[in-house]
């Protein structure tokens, strides 16, 4: 430990620290411009000057790159320090008069105007080189550097042209202390600025506020480290050393006794219905997009806004998008009616917009659901019974100009109507997951006609499958809402536990047995068995069936030339009798 005094306060810090770091740790503020904790200090701006007395000698040093020594007496607010700092800032003000941080700094230090010659009143760069050091040390691209000397010195990519080495990370703009660097792409748009994106834009981030587990991940496509091998700033600043850039995807094998399949669903792709114009009209959005919009952590902060930032005056919600439609999915997706009602409620709550709700049938089947529907009726939602045929932006009247017009046959009025709205929310249905068939193959279970997983029996074994020990939970089995999913998943978990807890497994009693008297030892059955349950006993000269391995398919029985192999409960004689029985009547 090194013992020193800062502004009269005795402190002890670890060896190798700079005065600036020691001061920061002890809540002593020293102004800086060209310093950044993750970049090597360079002492270019001279703003962090402090007065240091050591062994009777007093000197002005830059605190960012001067290491602490035993017995140092550091004075950050002495008259000499402030005087030198004022002079430096005054010179910086002449160099970069347009830079706001310098103007602020000057104000703080009581400087009014500069006595030095101002070369360019629009200049912001103070030539501190933080951007150059960041590009070299952090990004590893070295795409920009100082060129020329003396009064001509400036920061630029080679030959003043866009550099091939530049990876477009905009780290230089981020690090620049005076806002002198702006990054624009060749289309004139600003790059990597959150207003252009709905989501977060850092390469390491927590995907959403509700993420489980609530830990950040590294987007390797965006991360500078995976482009240049450098940076790792996140790892440097993480005290817990939790960031690891060398992690690889791993395949982990786990031995389990039972499995609960909860592979979920996929939202219907609304662009499959061209008439609704999803993807063409920016204000036609899907249910999940609306859900993201009204979420308190959304880019709009939970405000319902159109693509141009205005609040909608009328919103249409179209039910059964991709559901109850023989062209897409015949089944009812169950959840859409209720979430559509929730949306209508939220729109009423957050805006003054008219809400039009286009439904075929209102399916409010659950506890308290019908009551909620009645509440919406009272709130003034305009319910129109009929499937919306299409959405167009071709207004016929002045009232329709600039609006999205939903055309619909109002089956209660018996007439075709045109409803102009500003925003349309498509209540997209639930579909089986993309890899549903692969999962079914993997677990040797069946899918029903709509490709949702098939339960063993709709009433007697609703969470079991045809494969023992594999259970179903949630929307992978059929569309269902959260309460139903939670209830069913509880059932599946209980079934799985019951099986695991028992520790023993009851075999089907339909295994095959070999009559030793009849077996000739031809071994036809041995090769046929898919479970390698049959072995040949050389001593006895016959085949033997392992009861624990036999699943009772009976293919060996069908193949046995001497009828030595017989399947219990499905013996040849029994089936012959069945056949005879059929023709008795």
């Amino acid at each position: 430990m090194v013992h020193l005094t800062i502004d009269g306060k005795k402190i002890a810090v670890e060896e190798g620290q700079t005065i600036l770091q020691a001061a920061a740790k002890n809540d002593v503020k020293i102004p800086t411009l060209c310093y950044h904790p993750v970049v090597e200090p360079y002492a270019a701006c001279r703003v962090c000057l402090v007065e240091v007395e050591l062994r009777g000698k007093t000197d002005l040093v830059t605190s960012c790159n001067t290491k602490v020594q035993d017995g140092m007496d550091v004075r950050t607010k002495s008259e000499r320090t402030l005087q030198a700092r004022r002079l430096n800032v005054e010179m910086l003000l002449a160099r970069a008069p347009a830079a706001e941080p310098i103007q602020h700094l000057a104000k703080e230090l009581g400087i009014e105007g500069t006595r030095f010659e101002v070369k360019d009143p629009n200049e912001k760069c103070i030539l501190c080189g933080l951007c150059v050091r960041a590009c070299e040390q952090i990004v590893g691209a070295s795409a920009i550097s100082f060129v020329d000397r003396g009064t001509d010195r400036k920061v630029t990519p080679p030959f003043g042209e866009p550099s091939e080495a530049c990876i477009g990370c905009t780290a230089c703009a981020y690090f620049c202390p005076t806002g002198a660097i702006t990054c624009e792409d060749k289309y004139g748009r600003k790059v990597i600025h959150s207003e252009l994106h709905l989501g977060p834009t850092t390469a390491i981030r927590v995907p959403i506020r509700q993420a489980v587990p609530m830990v950040p991940f590294i987007d390797t496509e965006a991360c500078i480290h995976f482009k240049t091998g450098e940076c790792k700033v996140c790892a440097k600043v993480c005290d817990r050393e939790a960031v690891n850039h060398d992690m690889q995807d791993q395949v982990i094998e786990v031995d389990v006794g039972t499995i609960v399949l909860a592979s979920g669903f996929k939202s219907f792709d609304a662009s499959r219905i061209p008439a609704y114009g999803y993807g063409r009209y920016p204000n036609v959005i899907t249910a999940l997009e609306f859900e993201r919009l009204v979420n308190a952590s959304s880019p709009t902060g939970g405000k319902i806004k159109l693509a141009n930032g205005d609040e909608p005056k009328a919103v249409g919600i179209i039910h059964c998008v991709g559901s109850r439609d023989e062209h897409y999915n015949e089944y009812c997706s169950r959840v859409c009616c209720m979430y559509s009602l929730k949306f209508a409620h939220l729109i009423h709550e957050k805006t003054k917009a008219d809400v039009y709700d286009f439904y075929i049938d209102m399916r409010c089947f659950g506890k308290g659901y019908e009551e909620f529907y009645h509440r919406l009726l009272k709130e003034g939602t305009k319910f129109i019974r009929g499937r919306a045929s299409d959405i167009t932006d071709m207004g016929l009247t002045e009232k329709e100009e600039g609006k999205l017009i939903i055309r619909v046959e109002d089956t209660l009025l018996g007439t075709v109507r045109r409803i102009p709205v500003d925003m349309v929310v498509l209540a997209t249905g639930l579909e089986p997951g993309l890899d549903q068939n692969q999962i079914a193959k993997m677990f040797n279970i069946s899918c029903s006609q709509d490709t949702f997983f098939l339960e063993r029996h709709p009433k007697l074994a609703p969470v079991s499958t045809f494969s023992d020990g594999i259970f179903l939970a949630g929307a992978c089995q059929a569309p269902r809402d959260i309460p139903d999913t939670v209830a069913q998943a509880g059932g599946a978990a209980a079934e799985a536990l019951a099986l695991a807890d028992k520790g023993i497994f009851a075999l089907e009693p339909v295994t095959a047995v070999i009559n030793e008297e009849l077996c000739s030892g031809c071994q036809v059955c041995v090769g046929l068995c898919p479970f390698t349950a049959i072995t040949y006993d050389k001593g006895k000269g016959i085949s033997i069936i392992n009861d624990a391995l036999c699943k009772g398919c009976g293919t060996c029985v069908a193949a046995c030339p001497s009828a030595a192999s017989q399947q219990q409960h499905f013996r040849d004689a029994q089936i012959f009798a069945e056949i005879e029985g059929i023709f008795l009547v």
């Binding site: 898919p530 293919t555 069908a558 089936i575």
Partner: protein
């Protein structure tokens, strides 16, 4: 028996996991299909011994259906492939016995395909109606007498 009133007697060997469940689905869904088929449940289409088919024809069946899981979907991994191999061989044997190969049929019906089971039954019944009764026993008797 003329064609108009002839009601063929069909025997179906259905695997427990796919086709029998599919037939059950057709039933629980109250689908209407030709009532000519009599179903015998086996655990797997691979359990169907060629003797069963011969026996069914001998007892008076006008057609025999074997139905199992779709290829790759077998509950016992590959029983339906074994059924397919036996079916191909047996079809040729049946022809040599004078039983038209149209009277013997192999179909893949999954547990979800109640509609397909309905279609298969209707089609098969119509096909056998067209072929007429097999009358295997009468033919056999004639052969013995001569």
């Amino acid at each position: 028996m003329n064609e108009g009133t002839f009601e063929p007697r069909l025997v179906g060997f259905l695997c427990n996991w796919c086709s029998y469940t599919g037939a059950d689905l057709a039933g629980t869904a109250r689908m209407i299909y030709a009532p000519n088929i009599r179903i015998i449940r086996v655990m797997c289409s691979g359990r169907v011994d060629p003797q069963f088919v011969l026996k069914a024809f001998k007892e008076g069946a006008d057609g025999v259906l074997i139905s199992g899981c779709h290829p790759g979907d077998c509950h016992y991994q590959e029983g339906n492939y074994k059924a397919l191999r036996r079916y191909k061989l047996l079809s040729r044997v049946l022809e040599q016995f004078g039983i038209e190969k149209e009277r013997f049929r192999l179909e893949w019906v999954s547990a979800a395909e109640g509609i397909k089971f309905q279609q298969v039954c209707n089609e098969f019944t119509a096909q056998i109606k067209k072929l007429g009764p097999l009358n295997l026993n009468e033919r056999g008797d004639k052969h013995e007498r001569s």
